[in-house]
Symmetry: C3
Subunit: 204 residues, 3 copies
Amino acid sequence: MLHILYIIAITVEAMTAAISAGRREMDWVGVCIIAWVTALGGGTIRNIILGHYPMSWVEHPEYLYITAGGAIFAGIIAGYMKKLRFIFLLLDAIGLVVFTIIGCRLAQEMQLPVTIVLLSGMITGCAGGVLRDVLCNDIPLLFRKELYASASILTGAVYLLLEHVEVSSHVATITACLAGLALRLLAIRYEWQMPRFVYHEEWE
Amino acid sequence: MLHILYIIAITVEAMTAAISAGRREMDWVGVCIIAWVTALGGGTIRNIILGHYPMSWVEHPEYLYITAGGAIFAGIIAGYMKKLRFIFLLLDAIGLVVFTIIGCRLAQEMQLPVTIVLLSGMITGCAGGVLRDVLCNDIPLLFRKELYASASILTGAVYLLLEHVEVSSHVATITACLAGLALRLLAIRYEWQMPRFVYHEEWE
Amino acid sequence: MLHILYIIAITVEAMTAAISAGRREMDWVGVCIIAWVTALGGGTIRNIILGHYPMSWVEHPEYLYITAGGAIFAGIIAGYMKKLRFIFLLLDAIGLVVFTIIGCRLAQEMQLPVTIVLLSGMITGCAGGVLRDVLCNDIPLLFRKELYASASILTGAVYLLLEHVEVSSHVATITACLAGLALRLLAIRYEWQMPRFVYHEEWE
């Protein structure tokens, strides 16, 4: 179940990444690379930091074909994607919570401290988008967008809390995903934002 | 002693990183992430390159809380930080030399060649700031700033030289730190700069 | 033979990187760091992703001196490099195919799937330039330039194909290099480009 959602999630991430690449007038090789980095980069950075080898996509190269296919398909139907905007935002939010749970679980299996389990979830969910923005020469959206990282942290926290009170792992996963999903979708709907820290004085 | 200085150094790095994030109007999650990356990113990149696991902050998650706390505190007192500018530059310079010594020692323990020991110190001292600038979408200051990397190299070189002539490790550390600190502070005071390589001809 | 070409390749990469750094008015420390990252970063990223330690330049620190020397030399003769433009493009193209073959072989030795072998070659050949562009705050040229990544993929594909039909490794290497080189040079000569995906509608 989580595996199927994972495949859907990386495909959706790849498709939205293709749109970003199109805005920067990249060629089709660039589009595929941005798609790979966005869809698979979060898990890759997490694995590198935690020293967990091999990467999932090194063992399953079919992930590379799936995401490249998704990116090219997104390029072809780009004109229609705007109309499907809500579906993409929904799938992207599902991707975020699924990535988060996968990241938390991996850190749990490595028996890391609770803080690192939460952070592992957040890195898995968010770092791909940060890499995409760095390669497209933008300030990462993550640092300015509607509760993206916060939804990831909420997902991880609910999951850990429910596991701690010895709810079954299935129930914990589903409840956590729904909580994170709800926060993210409400944030999009009502344009909730974290307060910003704005500072413009010169002192250097 | 080095450990206490290390804690002070990561806190100061986190605080100055928060100011950078504030200039880019990031939200508070972004501020914390930039603080983490700046304060802990140098050591993390060094560990990844040298294959040295686990990361210090994975074993000591309290570093994450200390740096996040420092970043939020810096946001709150941002209006006053300007008046404390000199203290911050001093603490930042202390952080640079402390990070450098820690990086050199780790590479020494791994019995790597002298050149790599120096580079390990430089990566530990400087890479966090480079990551901060990349995520804030700036050209890294390191490549253009007053003898930042040079102060790191000097610290490492003095340290290795003194160890080589069999001075006690304590004396070597303190002398090297003072030498690096002096260079950095003199560079700030008198606006010393490395010569630049400027090239504006078009040939592509 | 491949080793000599490798040394030439990293030197040439370092020299062209120095010109990029000069355009950004970096100081000489910055020039050396950009040169190292460009010349050695591709192989380093590949090794980090595949978990292959230690890095070649950690074992052979002389690579750091060779590339730094190349970068400084390029800075000194910058005024003349324009006239040697064709030689540099040729050497850079040779570097690309040599890096690619080295990356493919390393992944083969690790007995990774064919797709990953190709990707390993591409990362080795191209990632250094991407890092250079990120640090110089550009959108990576790779994603928009004349068949750079494509020449790398062709090199790897020809190499794997010839090995598969049990041609000797020498013949496979040389044929693959010539094929990739031919594609890259023809692409430069006739300004061949991959089709671009351009998308400018706003929908966020």
